[in-house]
Symmetry: C4
Subunit: 196 residues, 4 copies
């Protein structure tokens, strides 16, 4: 079974989930429009971080499927469950944007973190299902590249767990860690690409 | 007429309908945010079940179009009518999420079931139109595979009819059956794939 | 310039516009939920007719691009303007659903008709730009097929003009004509396909 | 790394952002429905201008990727950041539609302009990253065509800066300049194509 339609469907979900994020950005009348547009900066920040996160996921999914040369049905469903977690992202993004200032920032950022952990587990499951014993990989996949990818994906779950727990100490620290993780992934996969 | 654009269009509708489901998940202020986020679990459950249902439909549509090697216009329109029912799914999903607890759960779950029956009939029509007399199938399609697919798709309509009727006895029983059916389809097509 | 990305982009807009239509379907509390779900049938009808219209447009766009084997930039922009009218469809669909009963049905159905006329003009412009003097057609395009397509597309604008004007007499007559036109196009292109 | 999935993802974001614009068009009851539908013409104008802007971006992105024959990860992320700005467009479009008449038109049009400047910078970054030293270009890319494209993309940022500043003098002048720029890009790339 070829992977073409899996890529089309996944890219569709990534593109839609990223683009729907803007529907969470709304301005309500408090002062002048200029003031209100500045006042909602947490909504812009949440939009940008979540958009980058989906961008990172898309690039990494790209890398994984570049090495996978066939799909079985179980792999399609592991992907569907992973996409279920990704397509959920607009909701916690909205919750954070609405509550980071003047709401219950702790509950909001923890909720965002739980979704991020679920996405990390889902992505790891996609990769491990495909790569264990070379199940779905191209016969000529470089074993060092494969184990390098495994090493680069494994820290995602513990890193997001730490960021989520840090929200209990300070929601702003947690939000800063989410932002830092997104930027770190952008930077590291770019640098990683250079050294390939 | 090749089937490439039919796949692009169908995958687009599947991906969008699945991703739009998250717009139905909303939190309203009752108690603390943490409490409210837990309180709306029927919305998460409805999101997850409907997302999985679309995932199952996508995988099965994949299987069908893998065997179909040409399309005629009537086939395109049978598909359009089927997609009309699939793209409708976010609405009954919202109705169930809003009414499963504290609303009219019976009417909501029956409504969800009627849409599921319509999707099942639509999918069966797509398959039977393509496969009757081998109309649109590849010349080398394995007849045992073809009749095996027919056998696996036929129970969908009666199963969803039973689940819908069971909502009249108990909406929670019906909701449990919808969940079980989605999980059953995920499990059975995965197992089916193993035995291929 | 090849037409592949034009097809991807157009199919994306068609799939999204069709799938967004469901966001217009909402239930508000008047009586029991069962009653309310039946009461909003004009929203279902508007959804179904607009979905079919987009389906017809998608199939016909398919047919046109099957004959076109290259694009120039002017053609891309003629398409963009056409897509602008198609992507507008969810708005008049909502206006009709909200006003067909108990609102200003005349203004609503005329508005829907004006958008339909705009789509018909746009589609005709796409086809005539591509086909005049065989500008963008494949060298081996059958001239009889080309002129047959021109003949089948020309009546769209006058037919939708008549349907729109009939809304001034009776909005229900107009709505019935919109429905009949959608079904007629589905039926005729299916029959047309048989005789190919 | 091939560019196929970059095109799929980008076209997805362009198509979705363009099609979501219609969700910003809403009618509220002031007078008769006919009057209200005419009264909201700024919403239609904002929809049409933003749709055309995305159309222009899509056609130009098409042109760029036609010359690019490989992608590295940094290029994917430059694209993601550019898409982040494009997917943001529905929000300032809504702000302009809501405030052009009877609201704070100055702040709204300046906000729209800032997003346009961000998109222009993003698009320039995509092109310069790919073309500097021929980094990602096909080996046989015509140097005159490459420098012609650079010349045609460079004025975007200063032009949108002038239009944004002009909103401080008169929001209507600014809105007219945004419209003129969109139409100018449509016209110029069409004429440019003729002379190729």
């Amino acid at each position: 079974m070829p992977t073409a339609r899996l890529e089309t469907f996944s890219d569709g979900v990534f593109a839609i989930a990223a683009t729907l994020l803007i529907l969470n950005v709304e301005v309500s009348h408090h002062g002048s429009l200029g003031h209100d547009l500045v006042h909602i900066w947490p909504a812009y920040a949440a939009y940008a971080v979540s958009f980058l996160v989906i961008g990172v996921i898309w690039v990494n999914h790209h890398t994984v499927l570049h090495l996978v040369d066939r799909a079985d049905r179980a792999f399609l469903f592991v992907n569907v469950v992973f996409l279920l977690a990704v397509a959920f992202l607009p909701f916690p993004t909205r919750v954070v944007a609405d509550n980071l200032r003047g709401g219950d920032a702790r509950a909001a950022t923890v909720f965002y973190g739980l979704n991020s952990i679920a996405m990390s587990i889902g992505f790891l499951a996609v990769w491990l299902y495909a790569s264990r014993g070379g199940r779905l990989l191209a016969a000529d996949a470089d074993p060092r590249l494969v184990s390098g990818i495994t090493r680069s994906f494994l820290p995602g779950v513990p890193l997001y767990t730490v960021a989520t727990l840090s929200c209990l100490i300070s929601p702003w620290l947690g939000a800063a860690l989410y932002t830092a993780l997104a930027l770190f992934y952008v930077a590291s996969s770019t640098v990683f690409a250079r050294s390939e």
